[in-house]
Point group: C2
Chain length 343, copies 2
Amino acid sequence: MALEFDLIDTYFAPLSQGFDSVDVGIGDDGAVLNIPKNHQLVVVTDTLVSGVHFPENTAPYDIAWKALAVNLSDLAAMGATPASYSLALTLPEYSADWLRSFSDGLRDLSAQFAIPLIGGDTTKGALTITVTAQGWVPNQQAILRSGAQEGDVICVTNTLGEGALGLKLALNDWHDSFTENDLSSEEKNRALNALNRPMPQLAMSTDMRGLVNSAIDISDGLLADLGHILNRSSKAIKRRGVQGELSLLKRGHSGVKNLIGADIELSQLPLSSGVTRYVNQTKDWSLPLSGGDDYQLCLTLTEANYQKLNDVLKAKKISLTVIGQVVKQQGIRCFEHGVVQKN
Amino acid sequence: MALEFDLIDTYFAPLSQGFDSVDVGIGDDGAVLNIPKNHQLVVVTDTLVSGVHFPENTAPYDIAWKALAVNLSDLAAMGATPASYSLALTLPEYSADWLRSFSDGLRDLSAQFAIPLIGGDTTKGALTITVTAQGWVPNQQAILRSGAQEGDVICVTNTLGEGALGLKLALNDWHDSFTENDLSSEEKNRALNALNRPMPQLAMSTDMRGLVNSAIDISDGLLADLGHILNRSSKAIKRRGVQGELSLLKRGHSGVKNLIGADIELSQLPLSSGVTRYVNQTKDWSLPLSGGDDYQLCLTLTEANYQKLNDVLKAKKISLTVIGQVVKQQGIRCFEHGVVQKN
């Protein structure tokens, strides 16, 4: 935990102080944390590499925000209560301005969830940020990718494709049928904000407990991440079938074919005005379907539980949109107004 | 926790399986771990950058070993029982041979302590490895840097300077009075092994509980790391003094002068035959004093507790050598056969 000492004291130690949960924070070989009773520990890790996971000209404030946000988003998807995080920061050179802005980004996001920085390491090299975050869930109440069931409705929070639209703005990456001039300044701001300062859906993570069968955060894009749910859930169904001798599937025969898939109705995807116009003008659904960088949650649950959860979330002004259903088939079929689309 | 899927399945998933403590391992948004009752969580993080923390030609097996070992060494210094670890691996390119060797290194070291890999992230970029490790300590029994007391004896485990001698061998970095020809092949192997495959002192970490006042692992070099103990302990003594109104020191006056320092007797430093010959021929004590990369423990405890701990460790064939004492003074004074040395 050898953060360079002047860096720690100036920029990072303030992010560690004043938390009852932290028995020992930054400055020792490791941090010592108090544990709530009857809970399990949830650990997540994500790395951001400059030029790969964010454009190289991204502001340090936004880099820090995003590095923490993508981890908190994983905690949110598991129904966890965030507890703390550590930072491994590899920097090409020391810059006080850069570090001030970076630590401000960490501070502002972590303050929203009252979680401390508990340690880390700073090293010299190409700009790379790894955050590991810890959270708690009541015993056996973690929400997994593997719990989807045939008949579940598939929902997503808020809107999709916004981060991918922001990336097009940041990289100035357009084609003939759509350019940034097709967006209002409000739409541009919204998209850039989604790219640079994604908000992890922690405001609803604990509400999902006991209601949701499976969840994942949409970082790779809706189709990829929903695919992870279907793969993991299919394996789990096979495993349970084998264990209960309720299935004809042979032991060790996993990974061949999925038992469940999904039908998605594209016209139901919740899209902002900017993304809607992009899709309409380009006929290209890739932003909401595979753009990634959304950090919304995709979840599956029974229709009855959807009504319950939606009532809770309405009061919090979080929208939860049904976009499809888990069905007994291979893969994901996309419909547009009921007409199946070719992949 | 998006390890690239073929990498996970082939190289990393096997390191995650078969552990009762892991409720959910690699493959979900995060890992879910069971917590022992009446314990606190200890979290440590260290990053290794190629060419900075290990020579660029280091074998991938050894890189992995070291990346995990330096973290387990931090857990050892805190008196923690290791529980699990996650891996953030940034790689310039995909190589099956490289990954096989790397995962073998992780497997062989983690198997010694029966701890699972619980997740991680693989990204493309300059070779950088961040490991975050989790451990447990019984409530309030973590051993900190901040507990040293005036009168404590200062001990180190095993021998010092071995990793730094290994680094000289790896970099072929010698001067006139000493070259690698002055070392036997056994001495060379021992030094290179200390550099590339340091063994975290977890075999004794739980024995220290209740006996040791302060501990740190020697990663930066004895003087630097002992200095960390003295700084942190001085601050803690001031804090306690102020709180108990037993001190004349004013509130907020910390960080000005240390209340405790150390006297070290160089002739007592435990050195291998190779490091001894190096020191004798060059009159240069930098290998054991500031070479770093030792991953031995430096600890302070009362004379009486030293006898108790030493008896326990003798049975485990771990040597614990008294090298000096905590005294009421500024800084660290080094003696050679009782004669004080200039810094």
